[in-house]
Amino acid sequence: MSVFQVLRVAIRALMRNKLRSFLTTLGVIIGVSAVIAMVAIGEGAKAKVAEAFASMGSNLLIVLSGSTSAGGARGGFGSLPTLTWDDLKAIRAECSAVRYAAPQLRSSASVISEDQNWGTSINGISPEFFAIKDWSVASGVNIAQSDIEGATKVVVLGQTVVEKLYGPSADPVGQTVRIKNFPFQIIGVAERKGQTALGQDQDDVVFMPYSTFQAKIQGGLQKFISGIIMVSATGSDDIDRAEKQISNLLRDRHHLPIGGDDDFSIRNLTEMANAQEEGVSTITSLLASIALVSLLVGGIGIMNIMLVSVTERTREIGIRMAIGARPRDVMAQFLVEALTLSFFGGVIGVLLGLLGANRLADHFGWPVLVRLDIVVIAVSFSGLVGVVFGLYPAIKAARLDPIDALRFE
C-alpha cells in the first residue's frame, strides 16, 4: 500500500470515532499549545527587558565615585567624590573605545510654574548625555555646548514634568519656571522615554547645563564631580574594552597602588541586561519543559486509545491479514493512525498556542515573539510522541495471529 493509501485508511478509521479521536488528540493539543504559548510569552518578556535596558542608553557604562569610610561605616559608591572634571576630560580624550562621556549631577528640587509646582529630579548634564541615552527633544532645542560655557539658566523638561505643570500635550517651550528661586527658561521638551528596566519613570526629570547646576543648585564650582559619569562605548563589542580603558586610566590618574582597591566603580548595563534576559530565559525553559511533560502525557493518552483500538478491531485485523495484509501493513496502519492523531494535535496546538500567546500578551501588554524554530520543534516533537507511543500498539497489532484474530468476538 502506498503512503497515501495508508493515510486515507487511517483518517477514515479515526473519523469513525470523531469524539474519541478528538479527546485523544486533546492531550497533545494542550501540550503543544502550552509549549508555544509559554515560549512566545517568555520571548516577549525577554524582548521587553532588552527594550527597557536599551531605553537606558546604548552600550552604556556608568562610572561612580568611591565610597566614604568613616568610623567603620562605609557609605557606598558615590558617597565620596573621587571623580574629577579632569578625569572626565581624560576619559573623552584618551579612551579610544569611548564614543561619548557625560556627567550627570543629580538633585531633587521643586519646579514651580505660574500656577503649579512639582518635586522632581534635577539633572545637570552636558549635550552628550542625550546622545548616550539615544534621546532627543520632542519640541524646542537641546542643551548646547554654549549653554555649558555660559552657564545659562535654561532647562529641558521631561514629559511627566510637563504634564504635572502644564497639563497633558501642552508645549511650554519659551515659558519660565523657577527652581530654588532662580528663573529658568524652558528651551525644550524631551521625548517620552518610558520606564527603566527597574520601573523608574525616566520622564520625571528636568535637565540643565551641568555648569548651571553647579552654580545654582549645588552652590559653587567644584573640582570633583558630585554625580556620575555616563559613558557610551563605540560599539556593543567595545564595551568591555572601554571598561578596561577607563579603569586603567582612572587608576593611573588617582595613583592607586597595584593590587589596591578601586576608588571608583564601573557599572556595565549590558551585563545587567544579559543577566536579566538569562533569568527570563531560565523561567521560559522551565515553563516549556513543564509543557513538554504535558505533551508526554498526551502521548500516553494516544497509546492508551490505540491499545483499545487494536483490541476492538482484532477481527478487522484478522480479516485484513486473511486477504493478504502483511504484518508490516497492519503495523503501518496503526502507526499512521497514532501519527495522524498526534500530528493534527500538534498543528491545532500550534494555532491554539499562538492564539493564547496573543491573548496573554494583550493582557500583560507584552510583545509576542513567535519563534519559528519552537513551532517546528513542537510539531516534530508531537509527531515523535505519536511514533513512540503508537509503536507498541502497532507492533501488538502486527503480531496478532490471523487465526486467533479471525476467531475474536
Binding site: 469513525r16 502483511r326 479471525l406
Partner: protein, 246 residues
C-alpha cells in the same frame, strides 16, 4: 511424456499439527496426506474437534504445519515466513467465512478493493476490477451499499467477490452457508459451482451433508485423521428448483 497431467494444486504429505495448551499437547492433525487437483471442489466434513478447521487453516496458509510437507501450486508452504504467507494469501487464495467478515461502515466496492490495495494495484485499476468482481457475483448495482444495508446472501456475495477479485487458484470457504437460509444457501452454492467451471478450486468446510452434495469430492475428518475420501457426481445447484423446496 506423451500424457500431460495437470500438476496437483495441493499436495499434503504426512502433515501433523500439534498445539500446546498449557501442559497438554493437542494433536489437531495427526497424519494427513491429501492431493487435490485444480478445479476440484472438495467438501471437508467432520464433527467439531475432528481437525477440519485446522486442516482448512493449514491449507489456507493461515497456519503452518508442525510436521510434514504442504505444497501449494508446486511451492513448499510449510517453511515460509509470515510476510510470504500473507503474499500467498493475497495472490493465490480467496477466503469466504461463515460470518461474511466484511469491514463495517465500508461500502461493498471498498471491501472488494481491499485485496487489490494490499497487492499495490493503483486506484483506477482497483476500482475497475472491484466493480467487475461485483458484476460477476450479480451485485453490480449494489457497489456503494454498506453491509448493514444488505441481506446475508448479498453480504456473502460481496465476500465472494472479494475472494475472487485477485483471480485466485484456490477458494477456501469456511461454513459459507452457515448463516444463510436454505434458498440463499443454494444460490451461493450455485455461484461457487459457476466459479468452479472457470477453473477455480474450491475447498468447502461444512458440517451440512446437504451442502457437501454440491461438491465433487467429500473428505471426512475424525480425530485428526482422514476417515474417508470419496469422489461423487455433484448435485447441480439450481436456485429455481430450490425456490419450491423453501
Amino acid at each position: 511424456m506423451a500424457q500431460v497431467t495437470p500438476a496437483p494444486l495441493i499436495e499434503v504429505d504426512h502433515v501433523a499439527k500439534v498445539y500446546r495448551m498449557g501442559d497438554v499437547e493437542v494433536h489437531a492433525l495427526r497424519d494427513v496426506s491429501l492431493t487435490i487437483a485444480e478445479a476440484e471442489s472438495v467438501a471437508i466434513m467432520g464433527p467439531s474437534g475432528s481437525g477440519k478447521s485446522t486442516l482448512m487453516n493449514v491449507l489456507g496458509c493461515l497456519d503452518r504445519p508442525t510436521r510434514g510437507s504442504y505444497r501449494l501450486a508446486g511451492q513448499e508452504v510449510s517453511k515460509l515466513d509470515r510476510n510470504t504467507l500473507a503474499k500467498l494469501r493475497n495472490r493465490t487464495l480467496g477466503f469466504v467465512f461463515q460470518s461474511f467478515n466484511l469491514l463495517s461502515r465500508t461500502s461493498a466496492v471498498e471491501n472488494v478493493e481491499l485485496p487489490l490495495l494490499y497487492a499495490g494495484v493503483s486506484g483506477r485499476e482497483r476500482h475497475r476490477r472491484a466493480r467487475e468482481a461485483l458484476e460477476r457475483v450479480g451485485l453490480g448495482d449494489r457497489a456503494h451499499h454498506h453491509s448493514n444495508q444488505m441481506s446475508g446472501g448479498q453480504q456473502q456475495r460481496v465476500a465472494i467477490a472479494r475472494a475472487l477479485v485477485m483471480k485466485p487458484h484456490l477458494m477456501v470457504a469456511d461454513e459459507p452457508t452457515g448463516n444463510l437460509d436454505s434458498r440463499t444457501s443454494v444460490e451461493i452454492m450455485a455461484l461457487f459451482q459457476e466459479l468452479g467451471r472457470t477453473g477455480i478450486t474450491l475447498l468447502l468446510v461444512t458440517h451440512e451433508s446437504d451442502i457437501a452434495r454440491y461438491a465433487s469430492r467429500v473428505v471426512v475428518m475424525r480425530d485428526g485423521l482422514v476417515q474417508s475420501d470419496r469422489r461423487q457426481v455433484p448435485l447441480v445447484a439450481d436456485p429455481a428448483a430450490a425456490q419450491g423446496v423453501a
